[in-house]
Amino acid sequence: MTADTVTPPLPADDALARPAAPHGTGVRRRSRLGPGDPIAYGYAIGPVLLLLIWTAGSLAGWIDPRTLAPPWVVLQTLAELAQSGRLWDNFETSAWRALQGLFWGVLAGVVLGVVAGLSRLGEYLIDGPVQIKRAIPTLALIPILMLWLGIGESMKITTIALIAMVPIYIQTHDCLRSIDNRYLELSETLGVTKREFIRHVVLPGSLPGFLLGLRFAVTASWLALVVVEQVNSVSGIGYMIELARTYGQTEIIVVGLALYAVLGLGSDWLVRLLQKRVLKWRKTLDN
């Protein structure tokens, strides 16, 4: 052993008696390993920064307007589109499609997830096909859905539902299966019925998974919308973008993209709000 590795001697008494680093009396102390205190409207920081870079780049001439229209042109186009009513019509069509697709997707995901989670037979029947669906890219699925359902609304809604269903199914099923077995034992000693068990243990226990799945599903449904609206569509934000591409109108494309972004961000925020309200009982890094 060298002298370097020898344990240093105990500090002298006066060092121990000295008061520790000052603890501010009015200062709120925080957890050393936690993510830190929340800041009001903190979620807006990232998107606003992106917006600032875009504005600065356009002003300085680093961004060619033919590549990406500057923000003020986009805003102007937005105002024009809004005034002509074209924007609202397309938005309404798109939102209604996404909502319908999401509704059926969530319903199917929850039902399949709970059935597969609660019974072995259900899992054997359902899990395989869902995983197969997951492995097939949606774009590859569209041709066959078009053959089966035509190019109308039902094809679009079905595609969105199929895409939204997968994350809901996976998260709900997984969370349900990881519910602590001890609650099952407890419920058996309390003599509750299967129905009560599902209502009071299974469903609330898989709720965190469902809500996480919902966040994925909501975003996925907007993404699916983009895909289906650019295939044989005569209305919707995707159609508007597709048309603008033909005429080389980047400002309309950007309006469409910004609309998608706002919708995606807004719906994700709504689900997060729901998550916070419904999962009040959880003690996590978040609160």
């Binding site: 407890l186 419920s187 000693t189 003599g191 509750v192 009560e196 009071h200 609330p204 999962l279 009982w281």
Partner: protein, 267 residues
């Protein structure tokens, strides 16, 4: 699979035992956990079951609770239909308020009112709407106790319910449990590894060793203080010997002796 004959009718006369176990055996593969155990527990009788960890005391309790469906074995068990289990962990549903946890699956008239009343009994009036995660360990275990008692059990099975609590909270919980059991008069089987807890709480103590009940002894503490202490010391010695442990006082003496010997040797 456990091949038990489970008789679900309650014996009418209170002199009759409410729990009857006959020739109960359980094994995990080749290893015999319980070896032909016979046991009767009368109404209102508080029985403590002592044993080493791994002695099979929890297996025995789970057999009585009907939770050992995956364990091989045979024998006869008759338990009353109204039975409640208190586990080592409070086992509260974290997404339900304290009140909803107590009322979970509760049958009969006015379940919520009864749950509120029982929470008051365990000293948690006013905490009905709290989340389990916001309670201390002792409070959580009191909620679990309320959930067990609100069902007016004829048999209360408790599997080391105070094992995870600190010493002071444990003492308070002992008093609470004793008062509640005197009042409600269920038959109680308390599984524990704490000899003092067993003597303090129970009317009768059992020691489970290698799958057999090797000691079955009434506690019967006398009135006078000196006699009482003497009886506790004697019982304590007997139980510790039954568990294959030397009494702490003897231990202290032995350790002092060993230390002295060691010093001598070193010198």
């Amino acid at each position: 699979m456990a091949q038990d004959t489970r008789q679900l009718n309650t014996p009418a006369a209170s002199a009759e035992p409410v729990v009857r176990v006959r020739q109960l055996s359980r094994r995990f593969g080749e290893r015999i956990i319980l070896d032909r155990i016979d046991l009767d527990i009368r109404q209102g009788e508080f029985v403590a079951l002592l044993g080493h960890s791994g002695s099979g005391k929890s297996t025995f309790l789970r057999a009585l609770a009907g939770l050992d469906y995956a364990v091989e074995g045979d024998g006869g068990i008759a338990v009353p239909p109204q039975l409640s289990v208190v586990f080592q962990d409070a086992r509260l549903l974290p997404w339900k308020s304290v009140l909803d946890n107590v009322a979970y699956g509760l049958r009969g008239p006015l379940p919520r009112q009864r749950a509120v009343d029982t929470l008051r009994e365990v000293g948690l009036a006013g905490r009905e709407r709290a989340w389990p995660g916001d309670l201390s360990g002792g409070e959580q275990q009191r909620v679990a106790l309320a959930r067990a008692l609100v069902r007016s059990p004829q048999l209360l099975l408790a599997d080391e319910p105070f094992g995870a609590l600190d010493a002071l909270t444990r003492l308070r919980m002992h008093d609470l449990l004793r008062r509640l059991c005197r009042h409600h008069q269920p038959a109680v089987l308390l599984v524990t590894h704490d000899v003092d807890e067993a003597i303090h709480l129970a009317d009768r103590v059992l020691v489970l060793d290698h799958g057999r009940l090797t000691i079955d002894e009434p506690v019967r503490l006398p009135e006078g203080k000196a006699e009482r202490l003497a009886r506790i010391a004697a019982l304590r010695g007997q139980l510790l010997a039954g568990l294959g442990v030397r009494d702490a006082d003897d231990d202290a003496g032995a350790q002092a002796g060993e230390a002295a010997a060691a010093v001598k040797k070193a010198a």
